[in-house]
Structures are given as structure tokens and as C-alpha cells.
Amino acid sequence: MKILAVNPSKCTGCRLCELACSLRNAGEFNPSRSRLRVIGFEELFSLPVTCFQCEKPHCAEVCPTGAITRDETSGVVKVSKEACTGCKICTLACPFGNIVFSTDVKRAVKCELCDHVPECADICPTGALEFKEADNATLYKRRMLSEKLKGIYGGVEAL
């Protein structure tokens, strides 16, 4: 299983990933339609945020039509175009705002890892976003990142 690994210390905040994502998924260069967001803070650091493809997704748990499912082999959490009625209950369920209602296509949209070729990781010039095998080392790094985030957010020193 491959995951989208995020390395915030390499992120320069160039936002190419947002453009690539919106082009691929919405057909236009429009960061507001990107499914991942780069969060910048006081120009000190930036962090790309996108769906974590949770093992037990909050969004899927509350979907009244069962439109959101997780593929057990690829680990990707997907929204079915046909089954989603656009009720938006999932957008309230995700604690990170990683699934949103698109007023353009009238249904919930989220990062689905571009059929295993994520454009964001492809275009990222610094390797802040990488699509790689979820081996122990990668998973360990991901866990460390979540610990480290507190330090980074907590003050400039940690950078």
C-alpha cells in the first residue's frame, strides 16, 4: 500500500501542488478547487494538508447513502459519484476539513490519490510531498511528524 507522505520541513509554500490538483480534479487552475491545501503561517513554515485516507474514516461512518468507502487493498477512501446525494453530513464529520462539498459538481469531493498517480507529489519540486510505499520507515516518519507538528507550531525554535 502506498501513501502520500508529507515532509513539512521541505515545503516552501510554492502551492504548485494546489494548482496541479485543481487542474487534474476540476479541470482548471484554481487553488480554491484543489483537494489539498497548503497552510502557511506567518511565512515561517507551511504545510500541505490533504485527506489522511483514515483506516476508519469519520466521513464514511456518517454517510447516509454509503457513498464513501475505503478500498482495503489500496487504502484509498473514495466518494461514489453516483451514490453521493450531496447532503454534506460528511463535511461536518471530518475533523480536518479534508472532505468538502463542491458547488460545481454538487457532491462531496476529497483527495482520492489520483488513481495512484498523485499529481501533487509528481509536481512537488522539493519532495515535501512524496507518494511512496507505506513501509515501516514511512509509517514511523508519519507518526513522528504528528508529534513534531506540535513542536513546530509551538514555536520558532523547533524549526
Binding site: R37, F41, T65, K88, L92, P95, F96, Y153
Partner: protein, 419 residues
């Protein structure tokens, strides 16, 4: 692992979530689902989408027979539970049958409150809660020209929107001084009202329906202000009451709903309750409340299921709602109103031109409520802040300076403290 006879009364959001949760940890215990509905599970949330024609009949069903087979669930659809004998641990069914249980989950949901009991028999008066209700309404809508909707809550608003595309003459009557009184504040409600009126729908606020009488094929709705409205169809959506009738003399404690603790347990051993029928602690207000919303039902059902299967898990609910009225996406989380003397701080942002509005409520250093209209991308994050009672003092000033660009909220969501 010990096999337990897990019995569930009800077959909607909470029941399905409970089945999934039990099967996550226990593959052997037999599960029986009892429901007075003859269909497989469907969501009442979807009924207005069905009315508007946006989804088909088949789309209403959220679990087919394969779901029950896969999870090895014995189904008793079309049989109503009429009593629970908690001393012998038996559920009595309408057809004189009995179902024994080791653990029982009551997830019977809620039913719409009617206007006056005498009107329920009138041909033109409908409620919208079950799939049969939706079918009857659609049938009647085919020939109806004038429709009066009583109740300016979620059901009422979604119903008028569903019918607005069918070219009917629509009137909405709400008893209180604003629309969506249980969901948003006056400011947000007035934006929604203007939008509804711009679609040619008449909105009457602060009016009570005194009575309805029939005149030929028409109904006459008598309003307390003296007005009389005529309609071919009246749809009433003025609230819900938990389905607890069968629990009389069961010893299970009921206030408005079945009282549950944070493990979804009732006062009687081995009996659990979840969803719209239950009344548990609201984590924002600290009071026991019936919180009839879909995601609450799913979460409560899941927690009930896990506890029934022996995994101790806690959950406290809160009020939350999201809807879309003529393209105005509206979200309500936690508190949605200031009551005099509650000492809450408010932050309000309003852009009438672009139909954007948000109001946030704070108690000391945590957020306790949010009403959002138009821009709602950060709703999940705000809910997380409220739900987890995050201390927001560290970054609040920075983050809420730009109330519509809430991406930085993630700082607060992560629970990060500034130095």
C-alpha cells in the same frame, strides 16, 4: 468469546452503525434486527431529495439484503415490537412472538408531531418521516396546485425547496419569529428567508395554525392572525417525538427520550438505546437532551454496538446540522443563539451581497457554537474545536482575524499551544 444474543429494535442509522460495530469485534454472536418497516434500511435524511426528484426510489435504501447477509443478521422486518420484558429479557412482538436477548439496543427513532390529533385523519394533511409518507406526498403532489407547509425547520424548508421546482404555489408557516429556530440565529435565518422569498414562496412568521378543515377537495388552514389559507396539500413538519410507547411498564427510564449514559446504557441492565429515541448528555450544554441528527445517531449506534460487544467506549453528543436551501449551504454546530445572561462572547461576520454569514460563540477560552452560511469548508474543524473543548486562547486572535479563511484553524485543531 462468549456468544451473546444481540437484539436491535429499529433499522436506520443507529441500528446499522451498531451492527457494523458489533461485527468489527465479534463475528459469532447472533444479531437480530426487529423493525416495523417492511423495507430494508433507508435514511429519512434522503426523503426530501426523493421528493425533489434528485434521487430515485432505489437510491433511498442504504443497506440491501446483502448487508444483512454479509453481517449474518437475522431480520424481522414488518413486525412491530410492542413491549419489552426486562426481567425476563424478552422483546414481545405484535404477532405474539417473543425474541429473547442478552443485550438489547432500542433504536426505534422518532415520529413527527402532528398539529392536532383530529387532523391526522384529513386526506390532505401529511407528515414526512417514512418512505410511505414520501410516496403519499408525491402521489398527492401530482394534482396539487397550492401547498402549505407548516413548520420552518429543516424538514419544512427542504420540502418547500423540493416543490419549488414543480411550479406549485407554496406557503410556509412558522410559529416562531424566524426560520430554522432550532438551528440558526436570527441573522442567518433572515438571509435564508430572503432567498426563499425570492423564489416566490410566501413565508409567514410568528403565526400559529389554529385548525384545518376540509372544503370539498381543498383544505382550509385557519391561522391565529385570522387569515385563512386554502391548499390542496398540507405538509406538517413541526418536530419529532421519540418512539417510546412500547416501553411503558418496562422499567426503562424515559424523560422525553430514553435516558442513556455516555456508554449508551439505560438504567436497566443489558438494555442500550441510541439515535433519535435516546436522550443523553449534550457535551456543550451539559444537559440531557434528545439530539435528533443523523451523524449523532450513527455515532451513538456505533458506541452502543461496541459496548454491547464488550468494548467500553464513551460518547457524548452535540447538536449539529447541515443543509442546503436554494444553494445557501448552512451549518450549525453546538449553540446557535445567545441567551441573555449566558455571558458568551460573539464573533459575527456578515456579507449580505455575497450571501456569506458566520457567527461564532465563545465561553472563556473555548468555542461553544458556530453558525455558518455560504463559506463552510472549515465546518469540520470548528466542530472538532467545539467537540474536543480545545483551549483556543493561544491562537484565537490570529486565526479569527480573517474569519472566512480558516485554514489556519488547523493550529487550533491540533491543540497547539503558543509559547
Amino acid at each position: 468469546m462468549e456468544k451473546l444474543r444481540q437484539v436491535i429494535i429499529g433499522n436506520s442509522g443507529a441500528a446499522l452503525a451498531a451492527i457494523r460495530a458489533i461485527r468489527e469485534v465479534d463475528d459469532l454472536s447472533p444479531i437480530t434486527v426487529i423493525s416495523d418497516q417492511k423495507y430494508t434500511s433507508y435514511s429519512p435524511v434522503l426523503l426530501t431529495y426523493y421528493l425533489s426528484g434528485r434521487i430515485s426510489w432505489e437510491d433511498l435504501f442504504i443497506a440491501g439484503s446483502d448487508f444483512y447477509n454479509k453481517n449474518k443478521v437475522k431480520t424481522r422486518f414488518g413486525s412491530r415490537a410492542i413491549a419489552v420484558d426486562t426481567s425476563r429479557q424478552i422483546v414481545c412482538l405484535q404477532d405474539d412472538e417473543r425474541v429473547e436477548y442478552d443485550h438489547l439496543l432500542i433504536a426505534t427513532g422518532a415520529s413527527p408531531i402532528g398539529l392536532h390529533s383530529s387532523e391526522t385523519k384529513l386526506n390532505n394533511v401529511f407528515c414526512l418521516r417514512t418512505i410511505e409518507d414520501a410516496q403519499r406526498i408525491l402521489e398527492r403532489a401530482r394534482t396539487a396546485k397550492e401547498v402549505v407547509v407548516v413548520g420552518g425547520g429543516l424538514i419544512g424548508l427542504q420540502t418547500v425547496e423540493a416543490f419549488s421546482r414543480k411550479g406549485l404555489k407554496l406557503t410556509l408557516i412558522e410559529w416562531s419569529k424566524q426560520l430554522l429556530p432550532e438551528m440558526v440565529d436570527v441573522g442567518c435565518a433572515s438571509i435564508i428567508q430572503r432567498e426563499i422569498e425570492s423564489h416566490g414562496i410566501t413565508v409567514l412568521l410568528g403565526r400559529k395554525v389554529e385548525g384545518i378543515r376540509e372544503l370539498g377537495a381543498k383544505s382550509i388552514i385557519v391561522v391565529d392572525s385570522g387569515e385563512e389559507l386554502t391548499a390542496d396539500m398540507v405538509i406538517v413538519g413541526i418536530g419529532l417525538k421519540p418512539n417510546v410507547e412500547m416501553l411503558k411498564s418496562s422499567g426503562i427510564e424515559v424523560n422525553r427520550g430514553i435516558l442513556v449514559d455516555e456508554f449508551m446504557r439505560t438504567n436497566v441492565r443489558n438494555v442500550f438505546a441510541a439515535g433519535d429515541v435516546s436522550e443523553g448528555k449534550n457535551l456543550v450544554t451539559g444537559r440531557a437532551e434528545v439530539l435528533p441528527n443523523w451523524s449523532n445517531a450513527c455515532s451513538q449506534g456505533r458506541i452502543a454496538g461496541l459496548n454491547m460487544a464488550g468494548c467500553e467506549q464513551k460518547y457524548e453528543g452535540m447538536s449539529e446540522a447541515v443543509t442546503d436551501i436554494f444553494g445557501l449551504i448552512t451549518v450549525s454546530i453546538g449553540l446557535h443563539k445567545t441567551v441573555e445572561g449566558d455571558g458568551l462572547e460573539e464573533l459575527c461576520f456578515c456579507d449580505l451581497k455575497r450571501k456569506r454569514y458566520r457567527k461564532l460563540w465563545f465561553a472563556k477560552n473555548r468555542m461553544v457554537g458556530a453558525v455558518l452560511l455560504g463559506v463552510v469548508q472549515d465546518a469540520g474543524m470548528l466542530k472538532n474545536l467545539i467537540r474536543n473543548k480545545r483551549d483556543i486562547s493561544a491562537w484565537a486572535g490570529e486565526v479569527f482575524k480573517t474569519p472566512l479563511d480558516m485554514r489556519k484553524l488547523l493550529l487550533l485543531v491540533a491543540g497547539v499551544q503558543s509559547r
